[in-house]
């Protein structure tokens, strides 16, 4: 059977998907064992035992100074920042993206600006960012928003601008005003795309979160990674990165699943 037609069942999908990840793990174990054979105190690619040992304290034992379980406190702080940043970006993308995509005058006026903001690397402007938003939580959330919102806005705007012209015309013949058109035609059709945009933005959002935490913070996954980086403590960094990947992948799967649940019409069989 031709490869295009070989549909893979749910269970086989899971099995196949696990293969490359297992292969990577194997490769890691071999290379790490190799390096340790040459230099038993190699720090770059720690063996699993060392990682478990290093993480044990962070995960299960309260920090002597603050009394917190550091791993969980880091996770909570980072997720809070990320959640807030993503939420604000999503809202901005929805509102600005739809207006840009649907209303030509708005597009003419602001699309250059949005493109400009989208292409300016925010990390180059960190000093100004921290001056504008202080050294607290605001600045970290702001960096995420500035980092991912323009991308999401442009994506939604492009999607809205590509709505079939007939739909806009049709809605107007049915009596829809601009506002009603936005509310009932554009908004619902933007939603599934928005979820896709959030999924695609998760990677960059984590990058910006970690960058922000690397610069000014005293808690968070990114803070911890950059703190122990000074000592090249890969036995902490690697589990933290794996944990971030797990969190992000879970979010991704949840978003995909909820898009399928909520917007059946967008995923429906389309013969």
């Amino acid at each position: 059977m031709r490869w295009v037609n070989r549909n893979i069942g749910r269970r086989n999908s899971l099995l196949l998907g696990a293969i490359p990840i297992l292969v990577l793990l194997m490769v890691y174990l071999v290379v790490s064992a190799d390096r340790h054979a040459i230099n038993p105190s190699d720090k770059i690619l720690p063996i699993p035992g060392a990682m478990v040992q290093a993480m044990w304290g962070l995960v299960f034992e309260p920090d002597r100074l603050s009394g917190r379980l550091l791993f969980w406190a880091d996770t909570f702080a980072s997720l809070q920042r990320l959640g807030l940043g993503i939420a604000i970006s999503t809202l901005a993308a929805l509102i600005v993206g739809i207006l840009l995509g649907i209303l030509p005058p708005v597009r003419a006026t602001f699309s250059t600006l949005v493109t400009g903001i989208a292409v300016i690397p925010p990390i180059a402007l960190l000093p100004i960012l921290f001056i504008a938003f202080g050294l607290g939580e605001t600045a970290k959330v702001a960096l995420i928003v500035i980092g991912v919102a323009p991308f999401m806005i442009r994506d939604i705007a492009a999607h809205m601008a590509a709505l079939p012209r007939e739909q806009i015309v049709k809605a107007q013949t049915l009596g829809a005003s601009t506002w009603q058109l936005i509310l009932r035609v554009a908004l619902p059709q933007a939603m599934p795309r928005l979820i896709q945009a959030v999924r695609l933005s998760l990677g960059p959002a984590w990058v910006f979160l970690i960058s922000a935490e690397a610069i000014a913070s005293d808690i968070g996954l990114g803070y911890r990674i950059f703190l122990v980086r000074r000592y090249l403590a890969m036995d902490v960094i690697l589990p933290y990165v794996a944990w971030i990947a797990l969190l992000a992948a879970t979010t991704d799967i949840l978003l995909n699943w909820s898009s399928r649940r909520l917007f059946r019409w967008a995923h429906g069989a389309n013969h």
Partner: protein, 272 residues
């Protein structure tokens, strides 16, 4: 001039391709105009211009003696050639949409008793097009003909003053098509709509219309076929209409057309 719509020397061009040329046309209120013509002649383009979706390249269009704005107003309803319904709304949602826009300017949604009233009206219309059993399907789950009927119901529920139909019954079987003919005729006379309908079924064009227009190229340059556009080559007012001129029925070479027993005027219009 007491015409509802008046086209004066209208041209439609895409790039250097002339699609319609020198269209002069008056459409009276309350008439049912059937448009026939070969594939690619520009029938859909003409409807788009009447709808206000596109502005003509040249010429003026007057609606009630005022220039038509290149904007689609709710007094005009449309069924597109490729059935275009909202893919994110169910059958019922698609049909209720027009009522919601009119009755709830702010939220475009109805609740409680008003919603029930609107849904009842929509269900009645959907029953008329034979979709009662499919109220909660999404367009992607429907057959071609079902989507076409939904588009018809969606447009008709608004009872627009000017109704533009582009091959509305093309994907329907004869039984349902007959029902649709009855429905549209009833609404046309009950609400004194003005209807412009493009069709390939010449029987349909003659049995429903009060006037039949034929669009075709009047001149043809074999070396540069895109240089000349189509125009109105025949304009046949039919007897049914109050104001009828004398004439004889013409066999249009329609393969499956019914015997049209009517008196029509073959008056080659001035515009070519």
């Amino acid at each position: 001039m007491n015409a509802l719509l008046s086209l004066q020397n209208v041209w439609v061009e895409y790039g250097d391709k002339v699609v319609l040329e020198r269209i002069n046309l008056n459409i009276e209120a309350g008439s049912f105009v059937s448009i026939i013509g070969p594939s690619g002649a520009g029938k859909s383009s003409l409807l788009r211009v009447l709808l206000g979706q596109e502005a003509p390249t040249k010429g003026t269009i007057l609606l009630n003696d005022e220039p038509l704005k290149p904007q689609c107003e709710p007094d005009r309803g449309v069924v597109f050639q490729r059935y275009s319904v909202f893919s994110h709304l169910t059958v019922l949602g698609n049909t209720v949409f027009g009522l919601e826009c009119a009755q709830a300017p702010l939220t475009a949604r109805l609740f409680g008793a008003r919603r029930r009233a609107a849904e009842a009206e929509a269900e009645e219309m959907l029953a008329a097009v034979g979709l009662s059993d499919n109220l909660h399907l999404y367009p992607a789950q429907m057959s071609g003909g079902m989507q076409q009927r939904l588009a018809i119901a969606q447009a008709l529920i608004k009872r627009p003053r000017l109704l533009l139909l582009d091959e509305p019954f093309g994907a329907l079987d004869p039984g349902i098509r007959a029902d649709m003919h009855a429905l549209i005729t009833r609404l046309w006379s009950d609400y004194s709509l003005t209807v412009v309908m493009v069709t390939h079924d010449i029987g349909e064009a003659f049995s429903l219309g009060t006037r039949v227009l034929t669009l075709d190229k009047a001149r043809h340059d074999p070396h540069a076929p895109h240089r000349y556009g189509a125009t109105v080559v025949y304009d046949l007012p039919l007897k049914k209409q109050a104001t009828v001129e004398a004439g004889t029925c013409v066999d249009n070479g329609a393969e499956n057309g019914p015997e049209v027993n009517c008196i029509i005027t073959v008056d080659e219009t001035r515009n070519n």
